[in-house]
């Protein structure tokens, strides 16, 4: 098959390959080992397929690529419209990169209902990819809600003690947020006759939507609320620590690594894309919430006695950076926001895997249960340190690039945004290094910790790709930014036109 013809169906393949694998898995007999291997093969295959996207991507070109647009339902007017640009491209690859690692990290830790687990995982992957590839709002909303079910089930069935509470809270909270988005989408459909993002965007920009100016603020808020809950932006974040603490490791990895990015991606694509004026208008309080999230999330993370809660709150802080960058409306800010999304996916995904590895050995996430682990588990400790440093934002690892660009962009917008945000680099060092010290340094306080085994082969295969990716992204961010930069530039064009804002360096 030539690359051209593959390019026209590649998004469909990448999106639905995991689902197809999941369906096939249903037919397989319940032999756990076969099921695991099958899931791994499917997820690796999807990853390899998805590499077609960046490899053949025309980097200098800002618009959507690999586009497929076919009428699906005539009434209502729903299209099967999929495409990626430099923004969604990497989120797809992030998803396909993390999923095989999730399979590996669950290899030994999931031993009951193995089949259901991997079916759910693969269904979840399709839903996540679909969110990033859909350009039809109906399709988008379908995938958006479709992520909820497998994730809620992963938490509710395979989670820890309070799993049902956490699953229900997660499900209801994000579901209720989404209802407002649904209302906004339906309003747009009623007034434009289309669910197509590109069509609606053009109609809005051309002033061709009746009643838009009166409704715009409500539409902005409708989308915003759904996304803000998902990000989660302060003060909509309290579902996150509960969900994480109860979720199985793979669930946490995909939840933090990808699911949260649905929110920030949505803000970038839909709030900025469809409502540039309202975005600008509301930016001050959105950025204020983001800044509160950065500092508040970090300070609350600092005092968590539970490792997983600590990482969860650190996500609130990191995702605050993303929102800060997006609403700075600067080239650096948006580039940085995109990069933080990817970097956070890798490093926090890695942190959750590492936390899970410890939980498997000790069945607890309490930091005070550990201490002195660097001696019995040196490889684990070294791997953990690399991921921690990536998360702390050490230059030459991936966290730094994004945070630096975000803060630089926020600073160009208003100095105070950059200054307050930059305190985040102090806080992240405080909460992560303090936690690291309490877990790995000092002497062993619980004798059982002396006997803990170092990383197994499967665990290395799951964790080391994250560490390697953190390093490559930190040394050669140009590989990613090359595609992100033009797309971000295009995303900012309406702001130059509408608000007359100069896109700074």
């Amino acid at each position: 098959m030539s690359t051209d013809s593959l390019s026209s169906i590649i998004l469909t393949l990448v999106t639905f390959a995991p689902l197809a694998g999941g369906l096939l898995l249903m037919l397989l007999p319940r032999r756990d080992r076969d099921i695991r291997i099958f899931a791994l093969v499917i997820s690796l295959l999807t990853f390899v397929l998805s590499l077609h996207l960046p490899v053949y991507f025309h980097r200098a070109q800002a618009g959507f690529q690999y586009e497929i647009d076919k009428p699906w339902v005539s009434t209502p007017n729903i299209h099967y419209h999929m495409a990626v640009d430099g923004i969604s491209l990497w989120l797809v690859v992030l998803t396909t990169f993390l999923t095989p690692l999730c399979v590996l990290i669950s290899w030994k830790s999931i031993h009951e209902r193995v089949k259901e687990f991997f079916i759910l995982l693969l269904i979840l992957e399709t839903a996540l990819i679909g969110v990033f590839t859909s350009l039809d709002l109906f399709l988008f909303y379908f995938f958006w809600e479709a992520t909820l079910i497998p994730m809620a089930l992963l938490i509710g069935i395979f989670g820890h003690e309070r799993k049902v509470y956490a699953a229900v809270k997660f499900f209801m909270y994000t579901m209720i947020g989404s209802v407002f988005m649904l209302a906004a989408i339906l309003w747009l459909y009623a007034h434009t006759g289309s669910f197509d993002f590109v069509v609606i965007r053009e109609q809005i920009a051309g002033g061709a939507v009746p009643g838009f100016s009166a409704a715009a603020q409500w539409l902005f808020l409708g989308f915003f609320l759904a996304f803000a809950v998902k990000v989660p932006l302060f003060p909509f974040h309290t579902w996150l620590p509960d969900a994480h603490v109860e979720a199985p490791t793979a669930g946490s990895v995909l939840l933090a690594g990808v699911l949260l990015k649905m929110g920030t991606y949505g803000l970038l694509r839909f709030n900025l894309g469809l409502f540039p004026e309202q975005s600008r208008h509301n930016a001050w309080w959105v950025m204020t919430l983001a800044l509160i999230g950065i500092i508040y999330g970090a300070l609350v993370a600092m005092v968590q006695p539970n490792m997983k809660k600590l990482i969860a709150y650190s996500s609130v802080s990191h995702l605050g950076f993303v929102v800060l960058g997006i609403f700075s409306f600067t080239q650096a800010g948006l580039n940085g926001a995109m990069f933080v999304m990817l970097a956070h996916g890798i490093s926090t995904g890695g942190l959750f895997m590492l936390a899970g590895i410890l939980h498997e050995r000790r069945h607890t996430y309490e930091i005070s249960e550990f201490g002195g682990l660097a001696n019995p588990m040196p490889i684990y400790a070294a791997s953990y340190l690399v991921i921690v440093l990536a998360s702390v934002g050490l230059p030459l690892l991936n966290g730094f690039i994004g945070e630096f660009l975000v803060l630089s962009g926020a600073f160009q917008d208003k100095a105070i945004y950059g200054i307050l945000g930059a305190t985040g680099i102090i806080w992240s060092a405080v909460y992560l290094l303090w936690m690291y010290q309490r877990v790995f340094y000092g002497t062993i306080t619980h004798p059982v910790n002396n006997t803990l085994g170092d990383l197994s082969g499967f665990e290395k295969m799951a964790v080391w790709p994250c560490a390697a990716a953190a390093l490559v992204m930190g040394v050669a961010p140009i590989l990613w930014l090359g595609a992100i930069d033009p797309a971000v530039h295009a995303a900012l064009t309406p702001f130059v036109q509408v608000v007359g804002r100069v896109v700074g360096p």
Binding site: Q331, L396, G442, G504, P505
Partner: protein
């Protein structure tokens, strides 16, 4: 025309050493590990010498630029992996690689019995990689790679003996306090990007050069300068961020010599000097630099008087000497600051290595009250440390005399206040250094003879009678001693300043300051150095009962000095405790749990029936879920059909 120097090889060499030892060292013999470490640190020194030779024989014109690869591109902003070599970075390059190589050699002996031998050398090489990146960067962002990276190496090496809580805490403290400084550094970079669109040294300084000095006292360059100085305060341990450096003495002693005396802590001085174009146009920022430097020099020296841990004395001395360097920068005498940076690397590196040799000799003891009389046991260590003490005290013609005197003279031309405080500091310096010398090497040995393994655990080596260190440790001491003796001579007749003139501009002749005044001030500073020596001789050699009586007489004040003015305790009470308590009680328990989460759950209770239904859904039954989805989708589609048919 320059042929390519391949400068990028310089940082890469030690990185290769770090990687090889890091990944393979655990399974390798000590011999193999030290061969790797010495080969790469030696090769990088050889390469630095080769570069210097090429410049010396005029086959290389400076400044020299080298582009390696893209790093960050965002819109019109870019920061690339690119290197820059001028006379300033050449001096730093030679100091870092030269002293670095010597300390690598020394460490082979010093760390020989440590079970994590390979880890030590891997970290030490990693440090060299980051330090050389810092020195050779051609833009602020690559410099920042090195800047944060040496912080990482410092964190790892301070906490090298991580099973000790105090070591682990000290490493963390160093990293976090440095991060506070980096916060200021970053904001300075954002200002540079915002106003000049670049972080390249060339571009930034070319944009700034035509600007008029901000004589009004405030302005963009002033802000940038002060923020850069915040960064420098963190890295170079100046007030108010100096508190991490004394704790950093938890690290193995070669680390204290290399990172926390000779090289890394001088990065702030280097960065400020590198940014001299900015500072020269921001008089207020220069004044801030001068005041911080002067105060730190004095303040840290006073703490040094009362310390009894041999490494702590040297640590506070380092803080104080770094203060001198900033005093020089603040006086606009950047080359004098760099001159002192170089001589300080020699004599302070030597002092720390000597202290290591002492600690090695007495089985891990660091308390000087349990030393004494060591000069007959470890004569080479005594001789070399004696030279270093003379050098730091400012006794001519040793290295420290020339550079310190240059600083005092240039400070005097700006304000006699700086000079006077600097002079008093010189007196105190001489006093506490000779105090160290007398307490350690003179009188009778006060240590336990046997049973000398002990509280300091890992630094412990031998037992029994104090013994001299092996040659592998003594040779670096001797080389550094020669440098401490003669290293200052390059400054005679302002030759060092002329060498750096292409970077900092030509030597200004200040009117009204005659040669006679200079000679007079020189005489005064030699006199106070001798006075300090005499006082130390009196108190710690001829009348050793006196110090206790003086301490008793001073009472509370003396205790305050012994406890380092309680600065750590004040910071803990002012910042650390409120932050942790506030975050725990107010932010987490009150705001997060009681207010926000209760609100969320209450809202949920309002829709209890809905959530009850949802709970039924949690049967784990996929089919019932599918039914839910189908039902939901049906409602949505029905709604749409209705809309579409309107």
């Amino acid at each position: 025309m320059n042929s390519s120097l391949n400068l990028w090889v310089i940082p890469i060499l030690p990185l290769a050493g770090a990687a090889i030892n890091g990944f393979l060292g655990k399974r390798s013999s000590r011999q193999a590990v030290s061969t790797i470490a010495l080969f790469f640190s030696g090769a990088v020194f050889a390469m630095a010498l080769w570069v210097a030779m090429r410049f010396w024989f005029s086959s290389l014109t400076l400044p020299y630029h080298e582009y390696l690869a893209h790093w960050i591109r965002s819109g019109s902003f870019s920061a690339d992996f690119a290197f820059y070599l001028d006379q300033l970075s050449l001096v730093m390059l030679l100091v870092v690689t030269g002293v670095g190589f010597l300390i690598h050699i020394y460490s082979v002996g010093y760390m020989w019995e440590d079970p994590s031998y390979y880890r030590f050398f891997s970290y030490l090489n990693l440090f060299m990689f980051f330090m050389l990146t810092l020195v050779l960067a051609n833009n602020y962002l690559v410099m920042f790679i090195g800047w944060e990276g040496v912080g990482l190496a410092s964190y790892l090496l301070i906490g090298f003996w991580f099973t000790k809580d105090s070591a682990a805490s000290a490493g963390k403290k160093a990293f976090i306090v440095n991060r506070i400084g980096d916060f200021g550094f970053l904001i300075a970079l954002f200002l540079l990007i915002k106003h000049f669109g670049s972080l390249n040294f060339d571009q930034v300084f070319q944009s700034i050069a035509p600007l008029a000095p901000e004589t009004a006292g405030t302005g963009l360059l002033t802000a940038i300068g002060i923020l850069l100085m915040v960064g420098a305060c963190g890295k170079s341990a100046q007030i108010p961020l100096y508190i991490w450096l004394p704790d950093a003495m938890e690290g193995p002693t070669p680390v204290s010599a290399l990172i926390h005396a000779a090289t890394m802590v001088t990065a702030g001085v280097y960065m400020v000097s590198r940014s001299h174009v900015i500072f020269e146009r921001a008089p207020t920022a220069l004044t801030v630099v001068a005041i911080i430097g002067t105060l730190t020099a004095f303040f840290a020296a006073t703490i040094g008087i009362a310390q009894t841990d041999i490494k702590k004395v040297l640590a506070y001395s380092t803080v104080s000497q770094l203060g001198y360097m900033f005093m020089a920068c603040g006086a606009g005498a950047f080359s004098a600051g760099i001159f002192h940076l170089m001589t300080h690397a020699f004599f302070k590196g030597l002092l720390f290595l000597g202290a290591g040799s002492v600690i090695h000799a007495v089985g891990g003891e660091q308390d000087m009250r349990k030393m004494g009389g060591l000069k007959s046991f470890i004569p080479w260590t005594f001789l070399t440390m004696g030279i270093a003490t003379l050098a730091i005290a400012g006794i001519p013609p040793l290295a420290g005399f020339w550079s310190k005197d240059e600083i005092l003279w240039r400070a005097y031309q700006v304000s006699w206040v700086y000079w006077l405080i600097g002079l008093i500091t010189a007196f105190i310096t001489s006093f506490y250094m000779f105090r160290l010398l007398y307490m350690t090497f003179f009188g009778d040995y006060r240590g336990a003879q046997a049973d000398a393994h002990g509280s300091h655990g890992h630094d412990a080596h031998g037992h029994g009678e104090p013994h001299e260190s092996p040659m592998v440790m003594l040779v670096p001491l001797m080389i550094l001693a020669v440098l401490s003796l003669l290293g200052g001579l390059v400054g005679i007749g302002n030759r060092f300043e002329h060498f750096l003139a292409p970077v900092f501009g030509s030597v200004e002749v200040v009117e009204g300051a005659s040669h006679g005044t200079e000679m007079l001030l020189m005489g005064v500073s030699v006199a106070v150095a001798l006075l300090g020596w005499w006082l130390a001789y009196l108190l710690y050699y001829s009348r050793p009962e006196l110090p206790q009586r003086i301490a008793d007489a001073l009472g509370g004040f003396y205790q305050t000095v012994v406890h380092k003015y309680y600065v750590d305790e004040i910071y803990a009470a002012l910042f650390v405790k409120p932050l942790i308590d506030g975050s725990t009680r107010i932010l987490w328990q009150d705001v997060d749990r009681k207010i926000i989460d209760t609100a969320v759950n209450d809202a949920g209770d309002g829709a209890r029936r809905v959530s009850d239904e949802a709970r039924h859904m949690q049967s784990g039954n996929i089919r019932s879920y599918a039914a839910w989805i189908a039902a939901g989708s049906a409602v949505v589609i029905a709604f749409m059909v209705w809309m579409g048919s309107r």
